[in-house]
């Protein structure tokens, strides 16, 4: 096998450490460049999700029309309308729908739509211009236009697939009464789908008037609520708590590793960990992937994974360092040897974990995918750092320590010699 052949070769990883340090540095540089570009053009260096930024919500009441089978269609339709919305000059507002949930059932069924503020709009502009525009656009599409039939003075307004609640019936009766003079005897049919009333001597524009008056602007068919701001789910307090807990976890892990291995191993492991986290952020920045609250979960997952990976390599280093065989070897040699011996394991473990999370990314829905992608990036970074970065740092540290006392001694003896002379 090819991999085994590679293993037989005497390879030098620690010696090429410059390359291993330059690669992540380049990735971070690209990420910073991308962040600057996005920062200048859109004002959003990172694509922060609504969990962090807050945003706006609108309730689209669809009443009984919202069923398991129509849910998907309506969701897509609402998303398209909001995201395609343009200002009067024909420029897109650049709105992004964050998520759509279904709430209530029967007459109160509605879509609860959350969306982020337009990139360059402040609160005032959102409230005065953009939110009303959204309400209007959605209202246009979700209007329910009834059919009007007449038998003499008896008229029927039929809503084909929409059941009226009492409030809507009252409201519509009032508006028909206002539009048609002399209309009376309003009644709601048993199936709640039509209104009957009587009116005599109707005008030519009667049908058009009634349709106009009886059309249901869907937002107001149920309990309607205007679009409004919503605070972030992840509050500042929550985020600080999370960061504190994570920092404390890192410190305690460092203490344990220092205790079981060496302080140098612990510090190298933490460097690898920070590397992985920075690479994950860079990945999110470069591809401008939305950072939602699930990203925190992805981060702590990689935190655990990265430490696990690094410890396996350091365990081999610990074992080899104690071995008589390596008594006179440099740390660099031991590190290389240990990496070589654990390489097969590192590759196989990474492949299996990648398989699982890649399936989640491929099969899962978009909301799950934004969770899986940073984990994949973190897994690759974690494998990279446990092979190339942390052992290199450890070896650098060790070999420098080994050499320093020697050179100190040499200097001293030289000094003594000089003094004697």
């Amino acid at each position: 096998m090819k991999i085994s052949n590679l293993l037989e070769k005497d390879f030098k990883i620690v010696e090429k450490k410059k390359i291993w340090f330059i690669i992540p540095a380049c990735i971070v540089a690209v990420a910073i460049a991308v962040m600057v570009i996005f920062g200048v053009t859109t004002g959003e260096p990172l694509n922060l999700g609504m969990d962090f930024t807050g945003g706006y919500t609108i309730n689209v009441s669809l009443s009984t029309k919202l069923t398991d089978s129509t849910y998907q269609t309506y969701t897509e339709q609402v998303t398209d309308i909001i995201e395609a919305l343009k200002d009067e000059n024909g420029n897109s507002y650049g709105l992004k729908v964050a998520n759509i949930q279904r709430q209530g059932s029967g007459d109160t069924a509605a879509l609860y739509v959350k969306y982020k503020a337009a990139p360059d709009a402040d609160d005032a502009r959102m409230n005065d211009e953009i939110n009303p525009a959204i309400e209007e656009a959605l209202g246009e599409v979700f209007k329910i236009i009834p059919a009007v039939t007449s038998e003499g003075d008896n008229h029927t307004v039929t809503y084909s697939d929409f059941r009226l609640v009492d409030d809507t019936f009252k409201q519509k009766s009032e508006s028909i009464k206002a539009a048609v003079s002399g209309a009376s005897g309003f009644a709601l049919s048993d199936d709640r789908k039509s209104i009957t009333f009587t009116a005599s001597g109707v005008s030519e524009s009667f049908v058009a008037d009634v349709i106009k008056a009886a059309t249901i602007d869907d937002r107001y068919s149920g309990q309607a609520r205007k679009s409004d701001s919503v605070s972030a789910t992840v509050s500042g307090e929550l985020l600080t708590d999370a960061l504190l807990a994570i920092s404390l976890a890192i410190v305690l892990m460092l203490v344990y590793i220092a205790f079981r291995f060496e302080v140098s191993s612990g510090l190298s492991a933490i460097v690898a960990l920070l590397h992985d986290i920075i690479i994950m952020f860079s990945f999110m920045a470069i591809f401008h992937i939305e950072i939602s609250s699930t990203f925190i979960a992805a981060l702590i997952t990689i935190l655990g994974y990265s430490i696990n990976n690094t410890i396996i390599v350091f365990d081999r280093i610990r074992e080899n360092s104690k071995s008589l065989y390596y008594k006179n070897s440099t740390a660099t040699f031991i590190a290389n040897q240990s990496i070589r011996e654990t390489l097969m394991r590192s590759i196989n473990t990474s492949i299996t974990t990648l398989i699982t999370i890649a399936m989640v990314a491929i099969i899962g829905v978009p909301s799950i995918r934004v969770f899986a992608l940073p984990i994949i990036a973190g897994l690759l970074a974690g494998t990279f750092s446990s092979i190339f970065i942390s052992p290199s740092i450890w070896a650098m540290w060790k070999d420098r320590k080994r050499k320093l006392p020697k050179s100190d001694k040499e200097k001293k003896t030289e000094g003594k010699k000089a003094a004697v002379a």
Binding site: V230, L252, V365
Partner: protein, 475 residues
């Protein structure tokens, strides 16, 4: 003989795993009782299953500091939900004067009020009691809910009491009222949906000037707790009224859970296929252990009361599966190394397990430390992650260190002369000796078996005999 008993043991573990799998995914109806599958008994969070929501509106005449008070109310609601065990619930502000509460894993919209209580108005008012024990309210309102910092049930001089703590404004008013009205009664009135309810009517015994009052006379601790709950329930910095209340679908979308499960199953099958391809029989052992691990995981997620599975929780499971597989890979690579060096199959397996143990323990303990810290100091979804990770790691240690170890032993006893089936190969140096010894491999393992047959843990018995045996092999 050894072969037979090993086959039986493998079969037993296999049957247990299969029964576990069936119980995990199938729900049975036996007579009138229903045995719900582990899988369907797991409580799911808002992101995966949805729940119920309620939108409250503040109707406050006094709108000074509205923003601060709304935020304080939000925090108080969040704490209340956490203390009731709903750490995954969310509270967000909508607009200037509304709060939206979402609670997972309940499907009856009314249930939300059992958890956070109906928004209530509380007041302390002087009262009189007539001969037939009817309480009538009289006089000014002394305190309102806003003046109460906390109410808790505790023991005081051996009796169950409710301890009240008041804010500065409340302390002053309470001090004045209690010193002027010693001997009279003071009613605690809660108004829910416009209806007054007197929840307690204690007598004022002494003037309370320090803002720390104690209400006694409760039958037991339970009654004290109930009163404390009644005083705290629905008490917020602003008056809230319910605007709407209904069910809500998962935040991640309705398909998230379904496709997530499919992804998990496909992923697990692919991992097993990879392990079997890479490590043959050892891979089969790992796959069996992995299935057992999954069954145990589902079981514990279903029975542990404080588990509520959310996406971060699933992340914790993925990580622990990764580590469970990793433990197996580490062990097998070690076994291969040992075998390559010339040891017999069983000797390699013992040495492999022994050498891998340290690494596995260290990496798992480190992760356990992280999980415990996150569990204690984390909030909300971070806790969910920590719980599943912790359960997962303990199970992973159990399956990889115990189940896999035994299974490898049994499988090797069944197929003692087929190292190829375990993807074990001799190294170049050991190969020459190995060829000469090929015929001995069987006897070697039989020799080892007699030393192991006591079923003692080899890691605990000395490894020296094995090394001696390996040395003998090289002669």
């Amino acid at each position: 003989m050894k072969k037979k008993s090993s086959i039986i043991k493998i079969a037993i573990i296999g049957v247990i795993t299969i029964i576990g799998l069936v119980l995990s995914f199938c729900t049975f109806h036996i007579g009138l009782t229903t045995f719900k599958s582990f899988g369907s008994s797991i409580k799911l969070g808002l992101d995966l299953k949805g729940g119920v929501y309620a939108v409250y509106e503040a109707n406050e005449d006094d709108d000074s500091d509205m923003n601060t008070r709304m935020n304080a109310t939000r925090t108080r609601l969040e704490r209340l939900l956490t203390s009731r065990g709903y750490s995954e619930a969310t509270v967000v502000r909508e607009g200037g004067d509304r709060l939206r509460v979402e609670v997972p894993d309940v499907d009856n919209p009314g249930a939300i009020f059992d958890i956070i209580g109906k928004p209530a108005e509380l007041r302390f008012q002087l009262s009189t009691v007539d001969a037939s024990n009817n309480v009538s309210l009289s006089g000014d309102i002394i305190l309102t809910g806003r003046n109460i910092l906390s109410a808790s049930a505790q023991y005081y001089e051996g009796k169950a009491v409710v301890a009240l703590s008041l804010n500065a404004e409340g302390t002053e008013a309470f001090s004045k009222a209690t010193s002027e009205n010693i001997g009279k009664t003071m009613a605690i009135v809660s108004t829910v949906d416009g209806k007054d309810q007197i929840i307690s009517n204690p007598t004022i015994n002494v003037a309370i000037t320090n803002g720390q009052a104690i209400i006694d006379g409760m039958a037991d601790m339970e009654a004290a707790q109930e009163l404390a709950d009644q005083i705290t329930a629905g008490q917020f910095e602003v008056k809230l009224s319910l605007l709407e209340n209904s069910t809500v679908s998962p935040t991640l979308g309705e398909q998230a859970l379904f496709y997530g499960i499919i992804a998990g199953v496909v992923g697990l099958l692919l991992v097993m296929a990879f392990l079997i391809w890479r490590y043959r029989m050892l891979g089969a052992v790992a796959s069996m252990a992995l299935l057992l691990y999954s069954v145990l995981m589902l079981f514990f997620l279903a029975v542990l009361p404080w588990v509520q599975l959310t996406l971060p929780g699933i992340a914790g499971i993925i990580l622990s599966i990764g580590m469970a597989v990793d433990a197996n890979v580490i062990i097998y690579e070690r076994i291969r190394d040992e075998f390559k060096g010339g040891k017999s199959m069983l000797a390699s397996s013992h040495a492999g397990f022994k050498k891998a143990t340290k690494a596995i323990i260290d990496s798992n303990v480190t992760t356990i430390i992280a999980a415990v810290v996150l569990l204690i100091f984390g909030t909300g979804s971070i806790r969910g992650f920590a719980i599943t990770l912790l359960v997962g790691i303990i199970l992973s240690l159990f399956t990889s260190m115990l189940v896999t170890r035994k299974l490898v032993k049994y499988f090797m006893a069944v197929l003692p002369d087929k190292p190829g089936m375990f993807s074990l190969k001799r190294g170049k140096e050991a190969e020459q000796d190995g060829n000469a010894n090929d015929g001995n491999v069987i006897t070697d393992s039989e020799v080892t078996e007699t030393t192991v047959s006591e079923d003692k843990d080899i890691a605990q018995t000395d490894v020296k005999p094995l090394e001696g045996e390996a040395a003998y092999e090289n002669i």
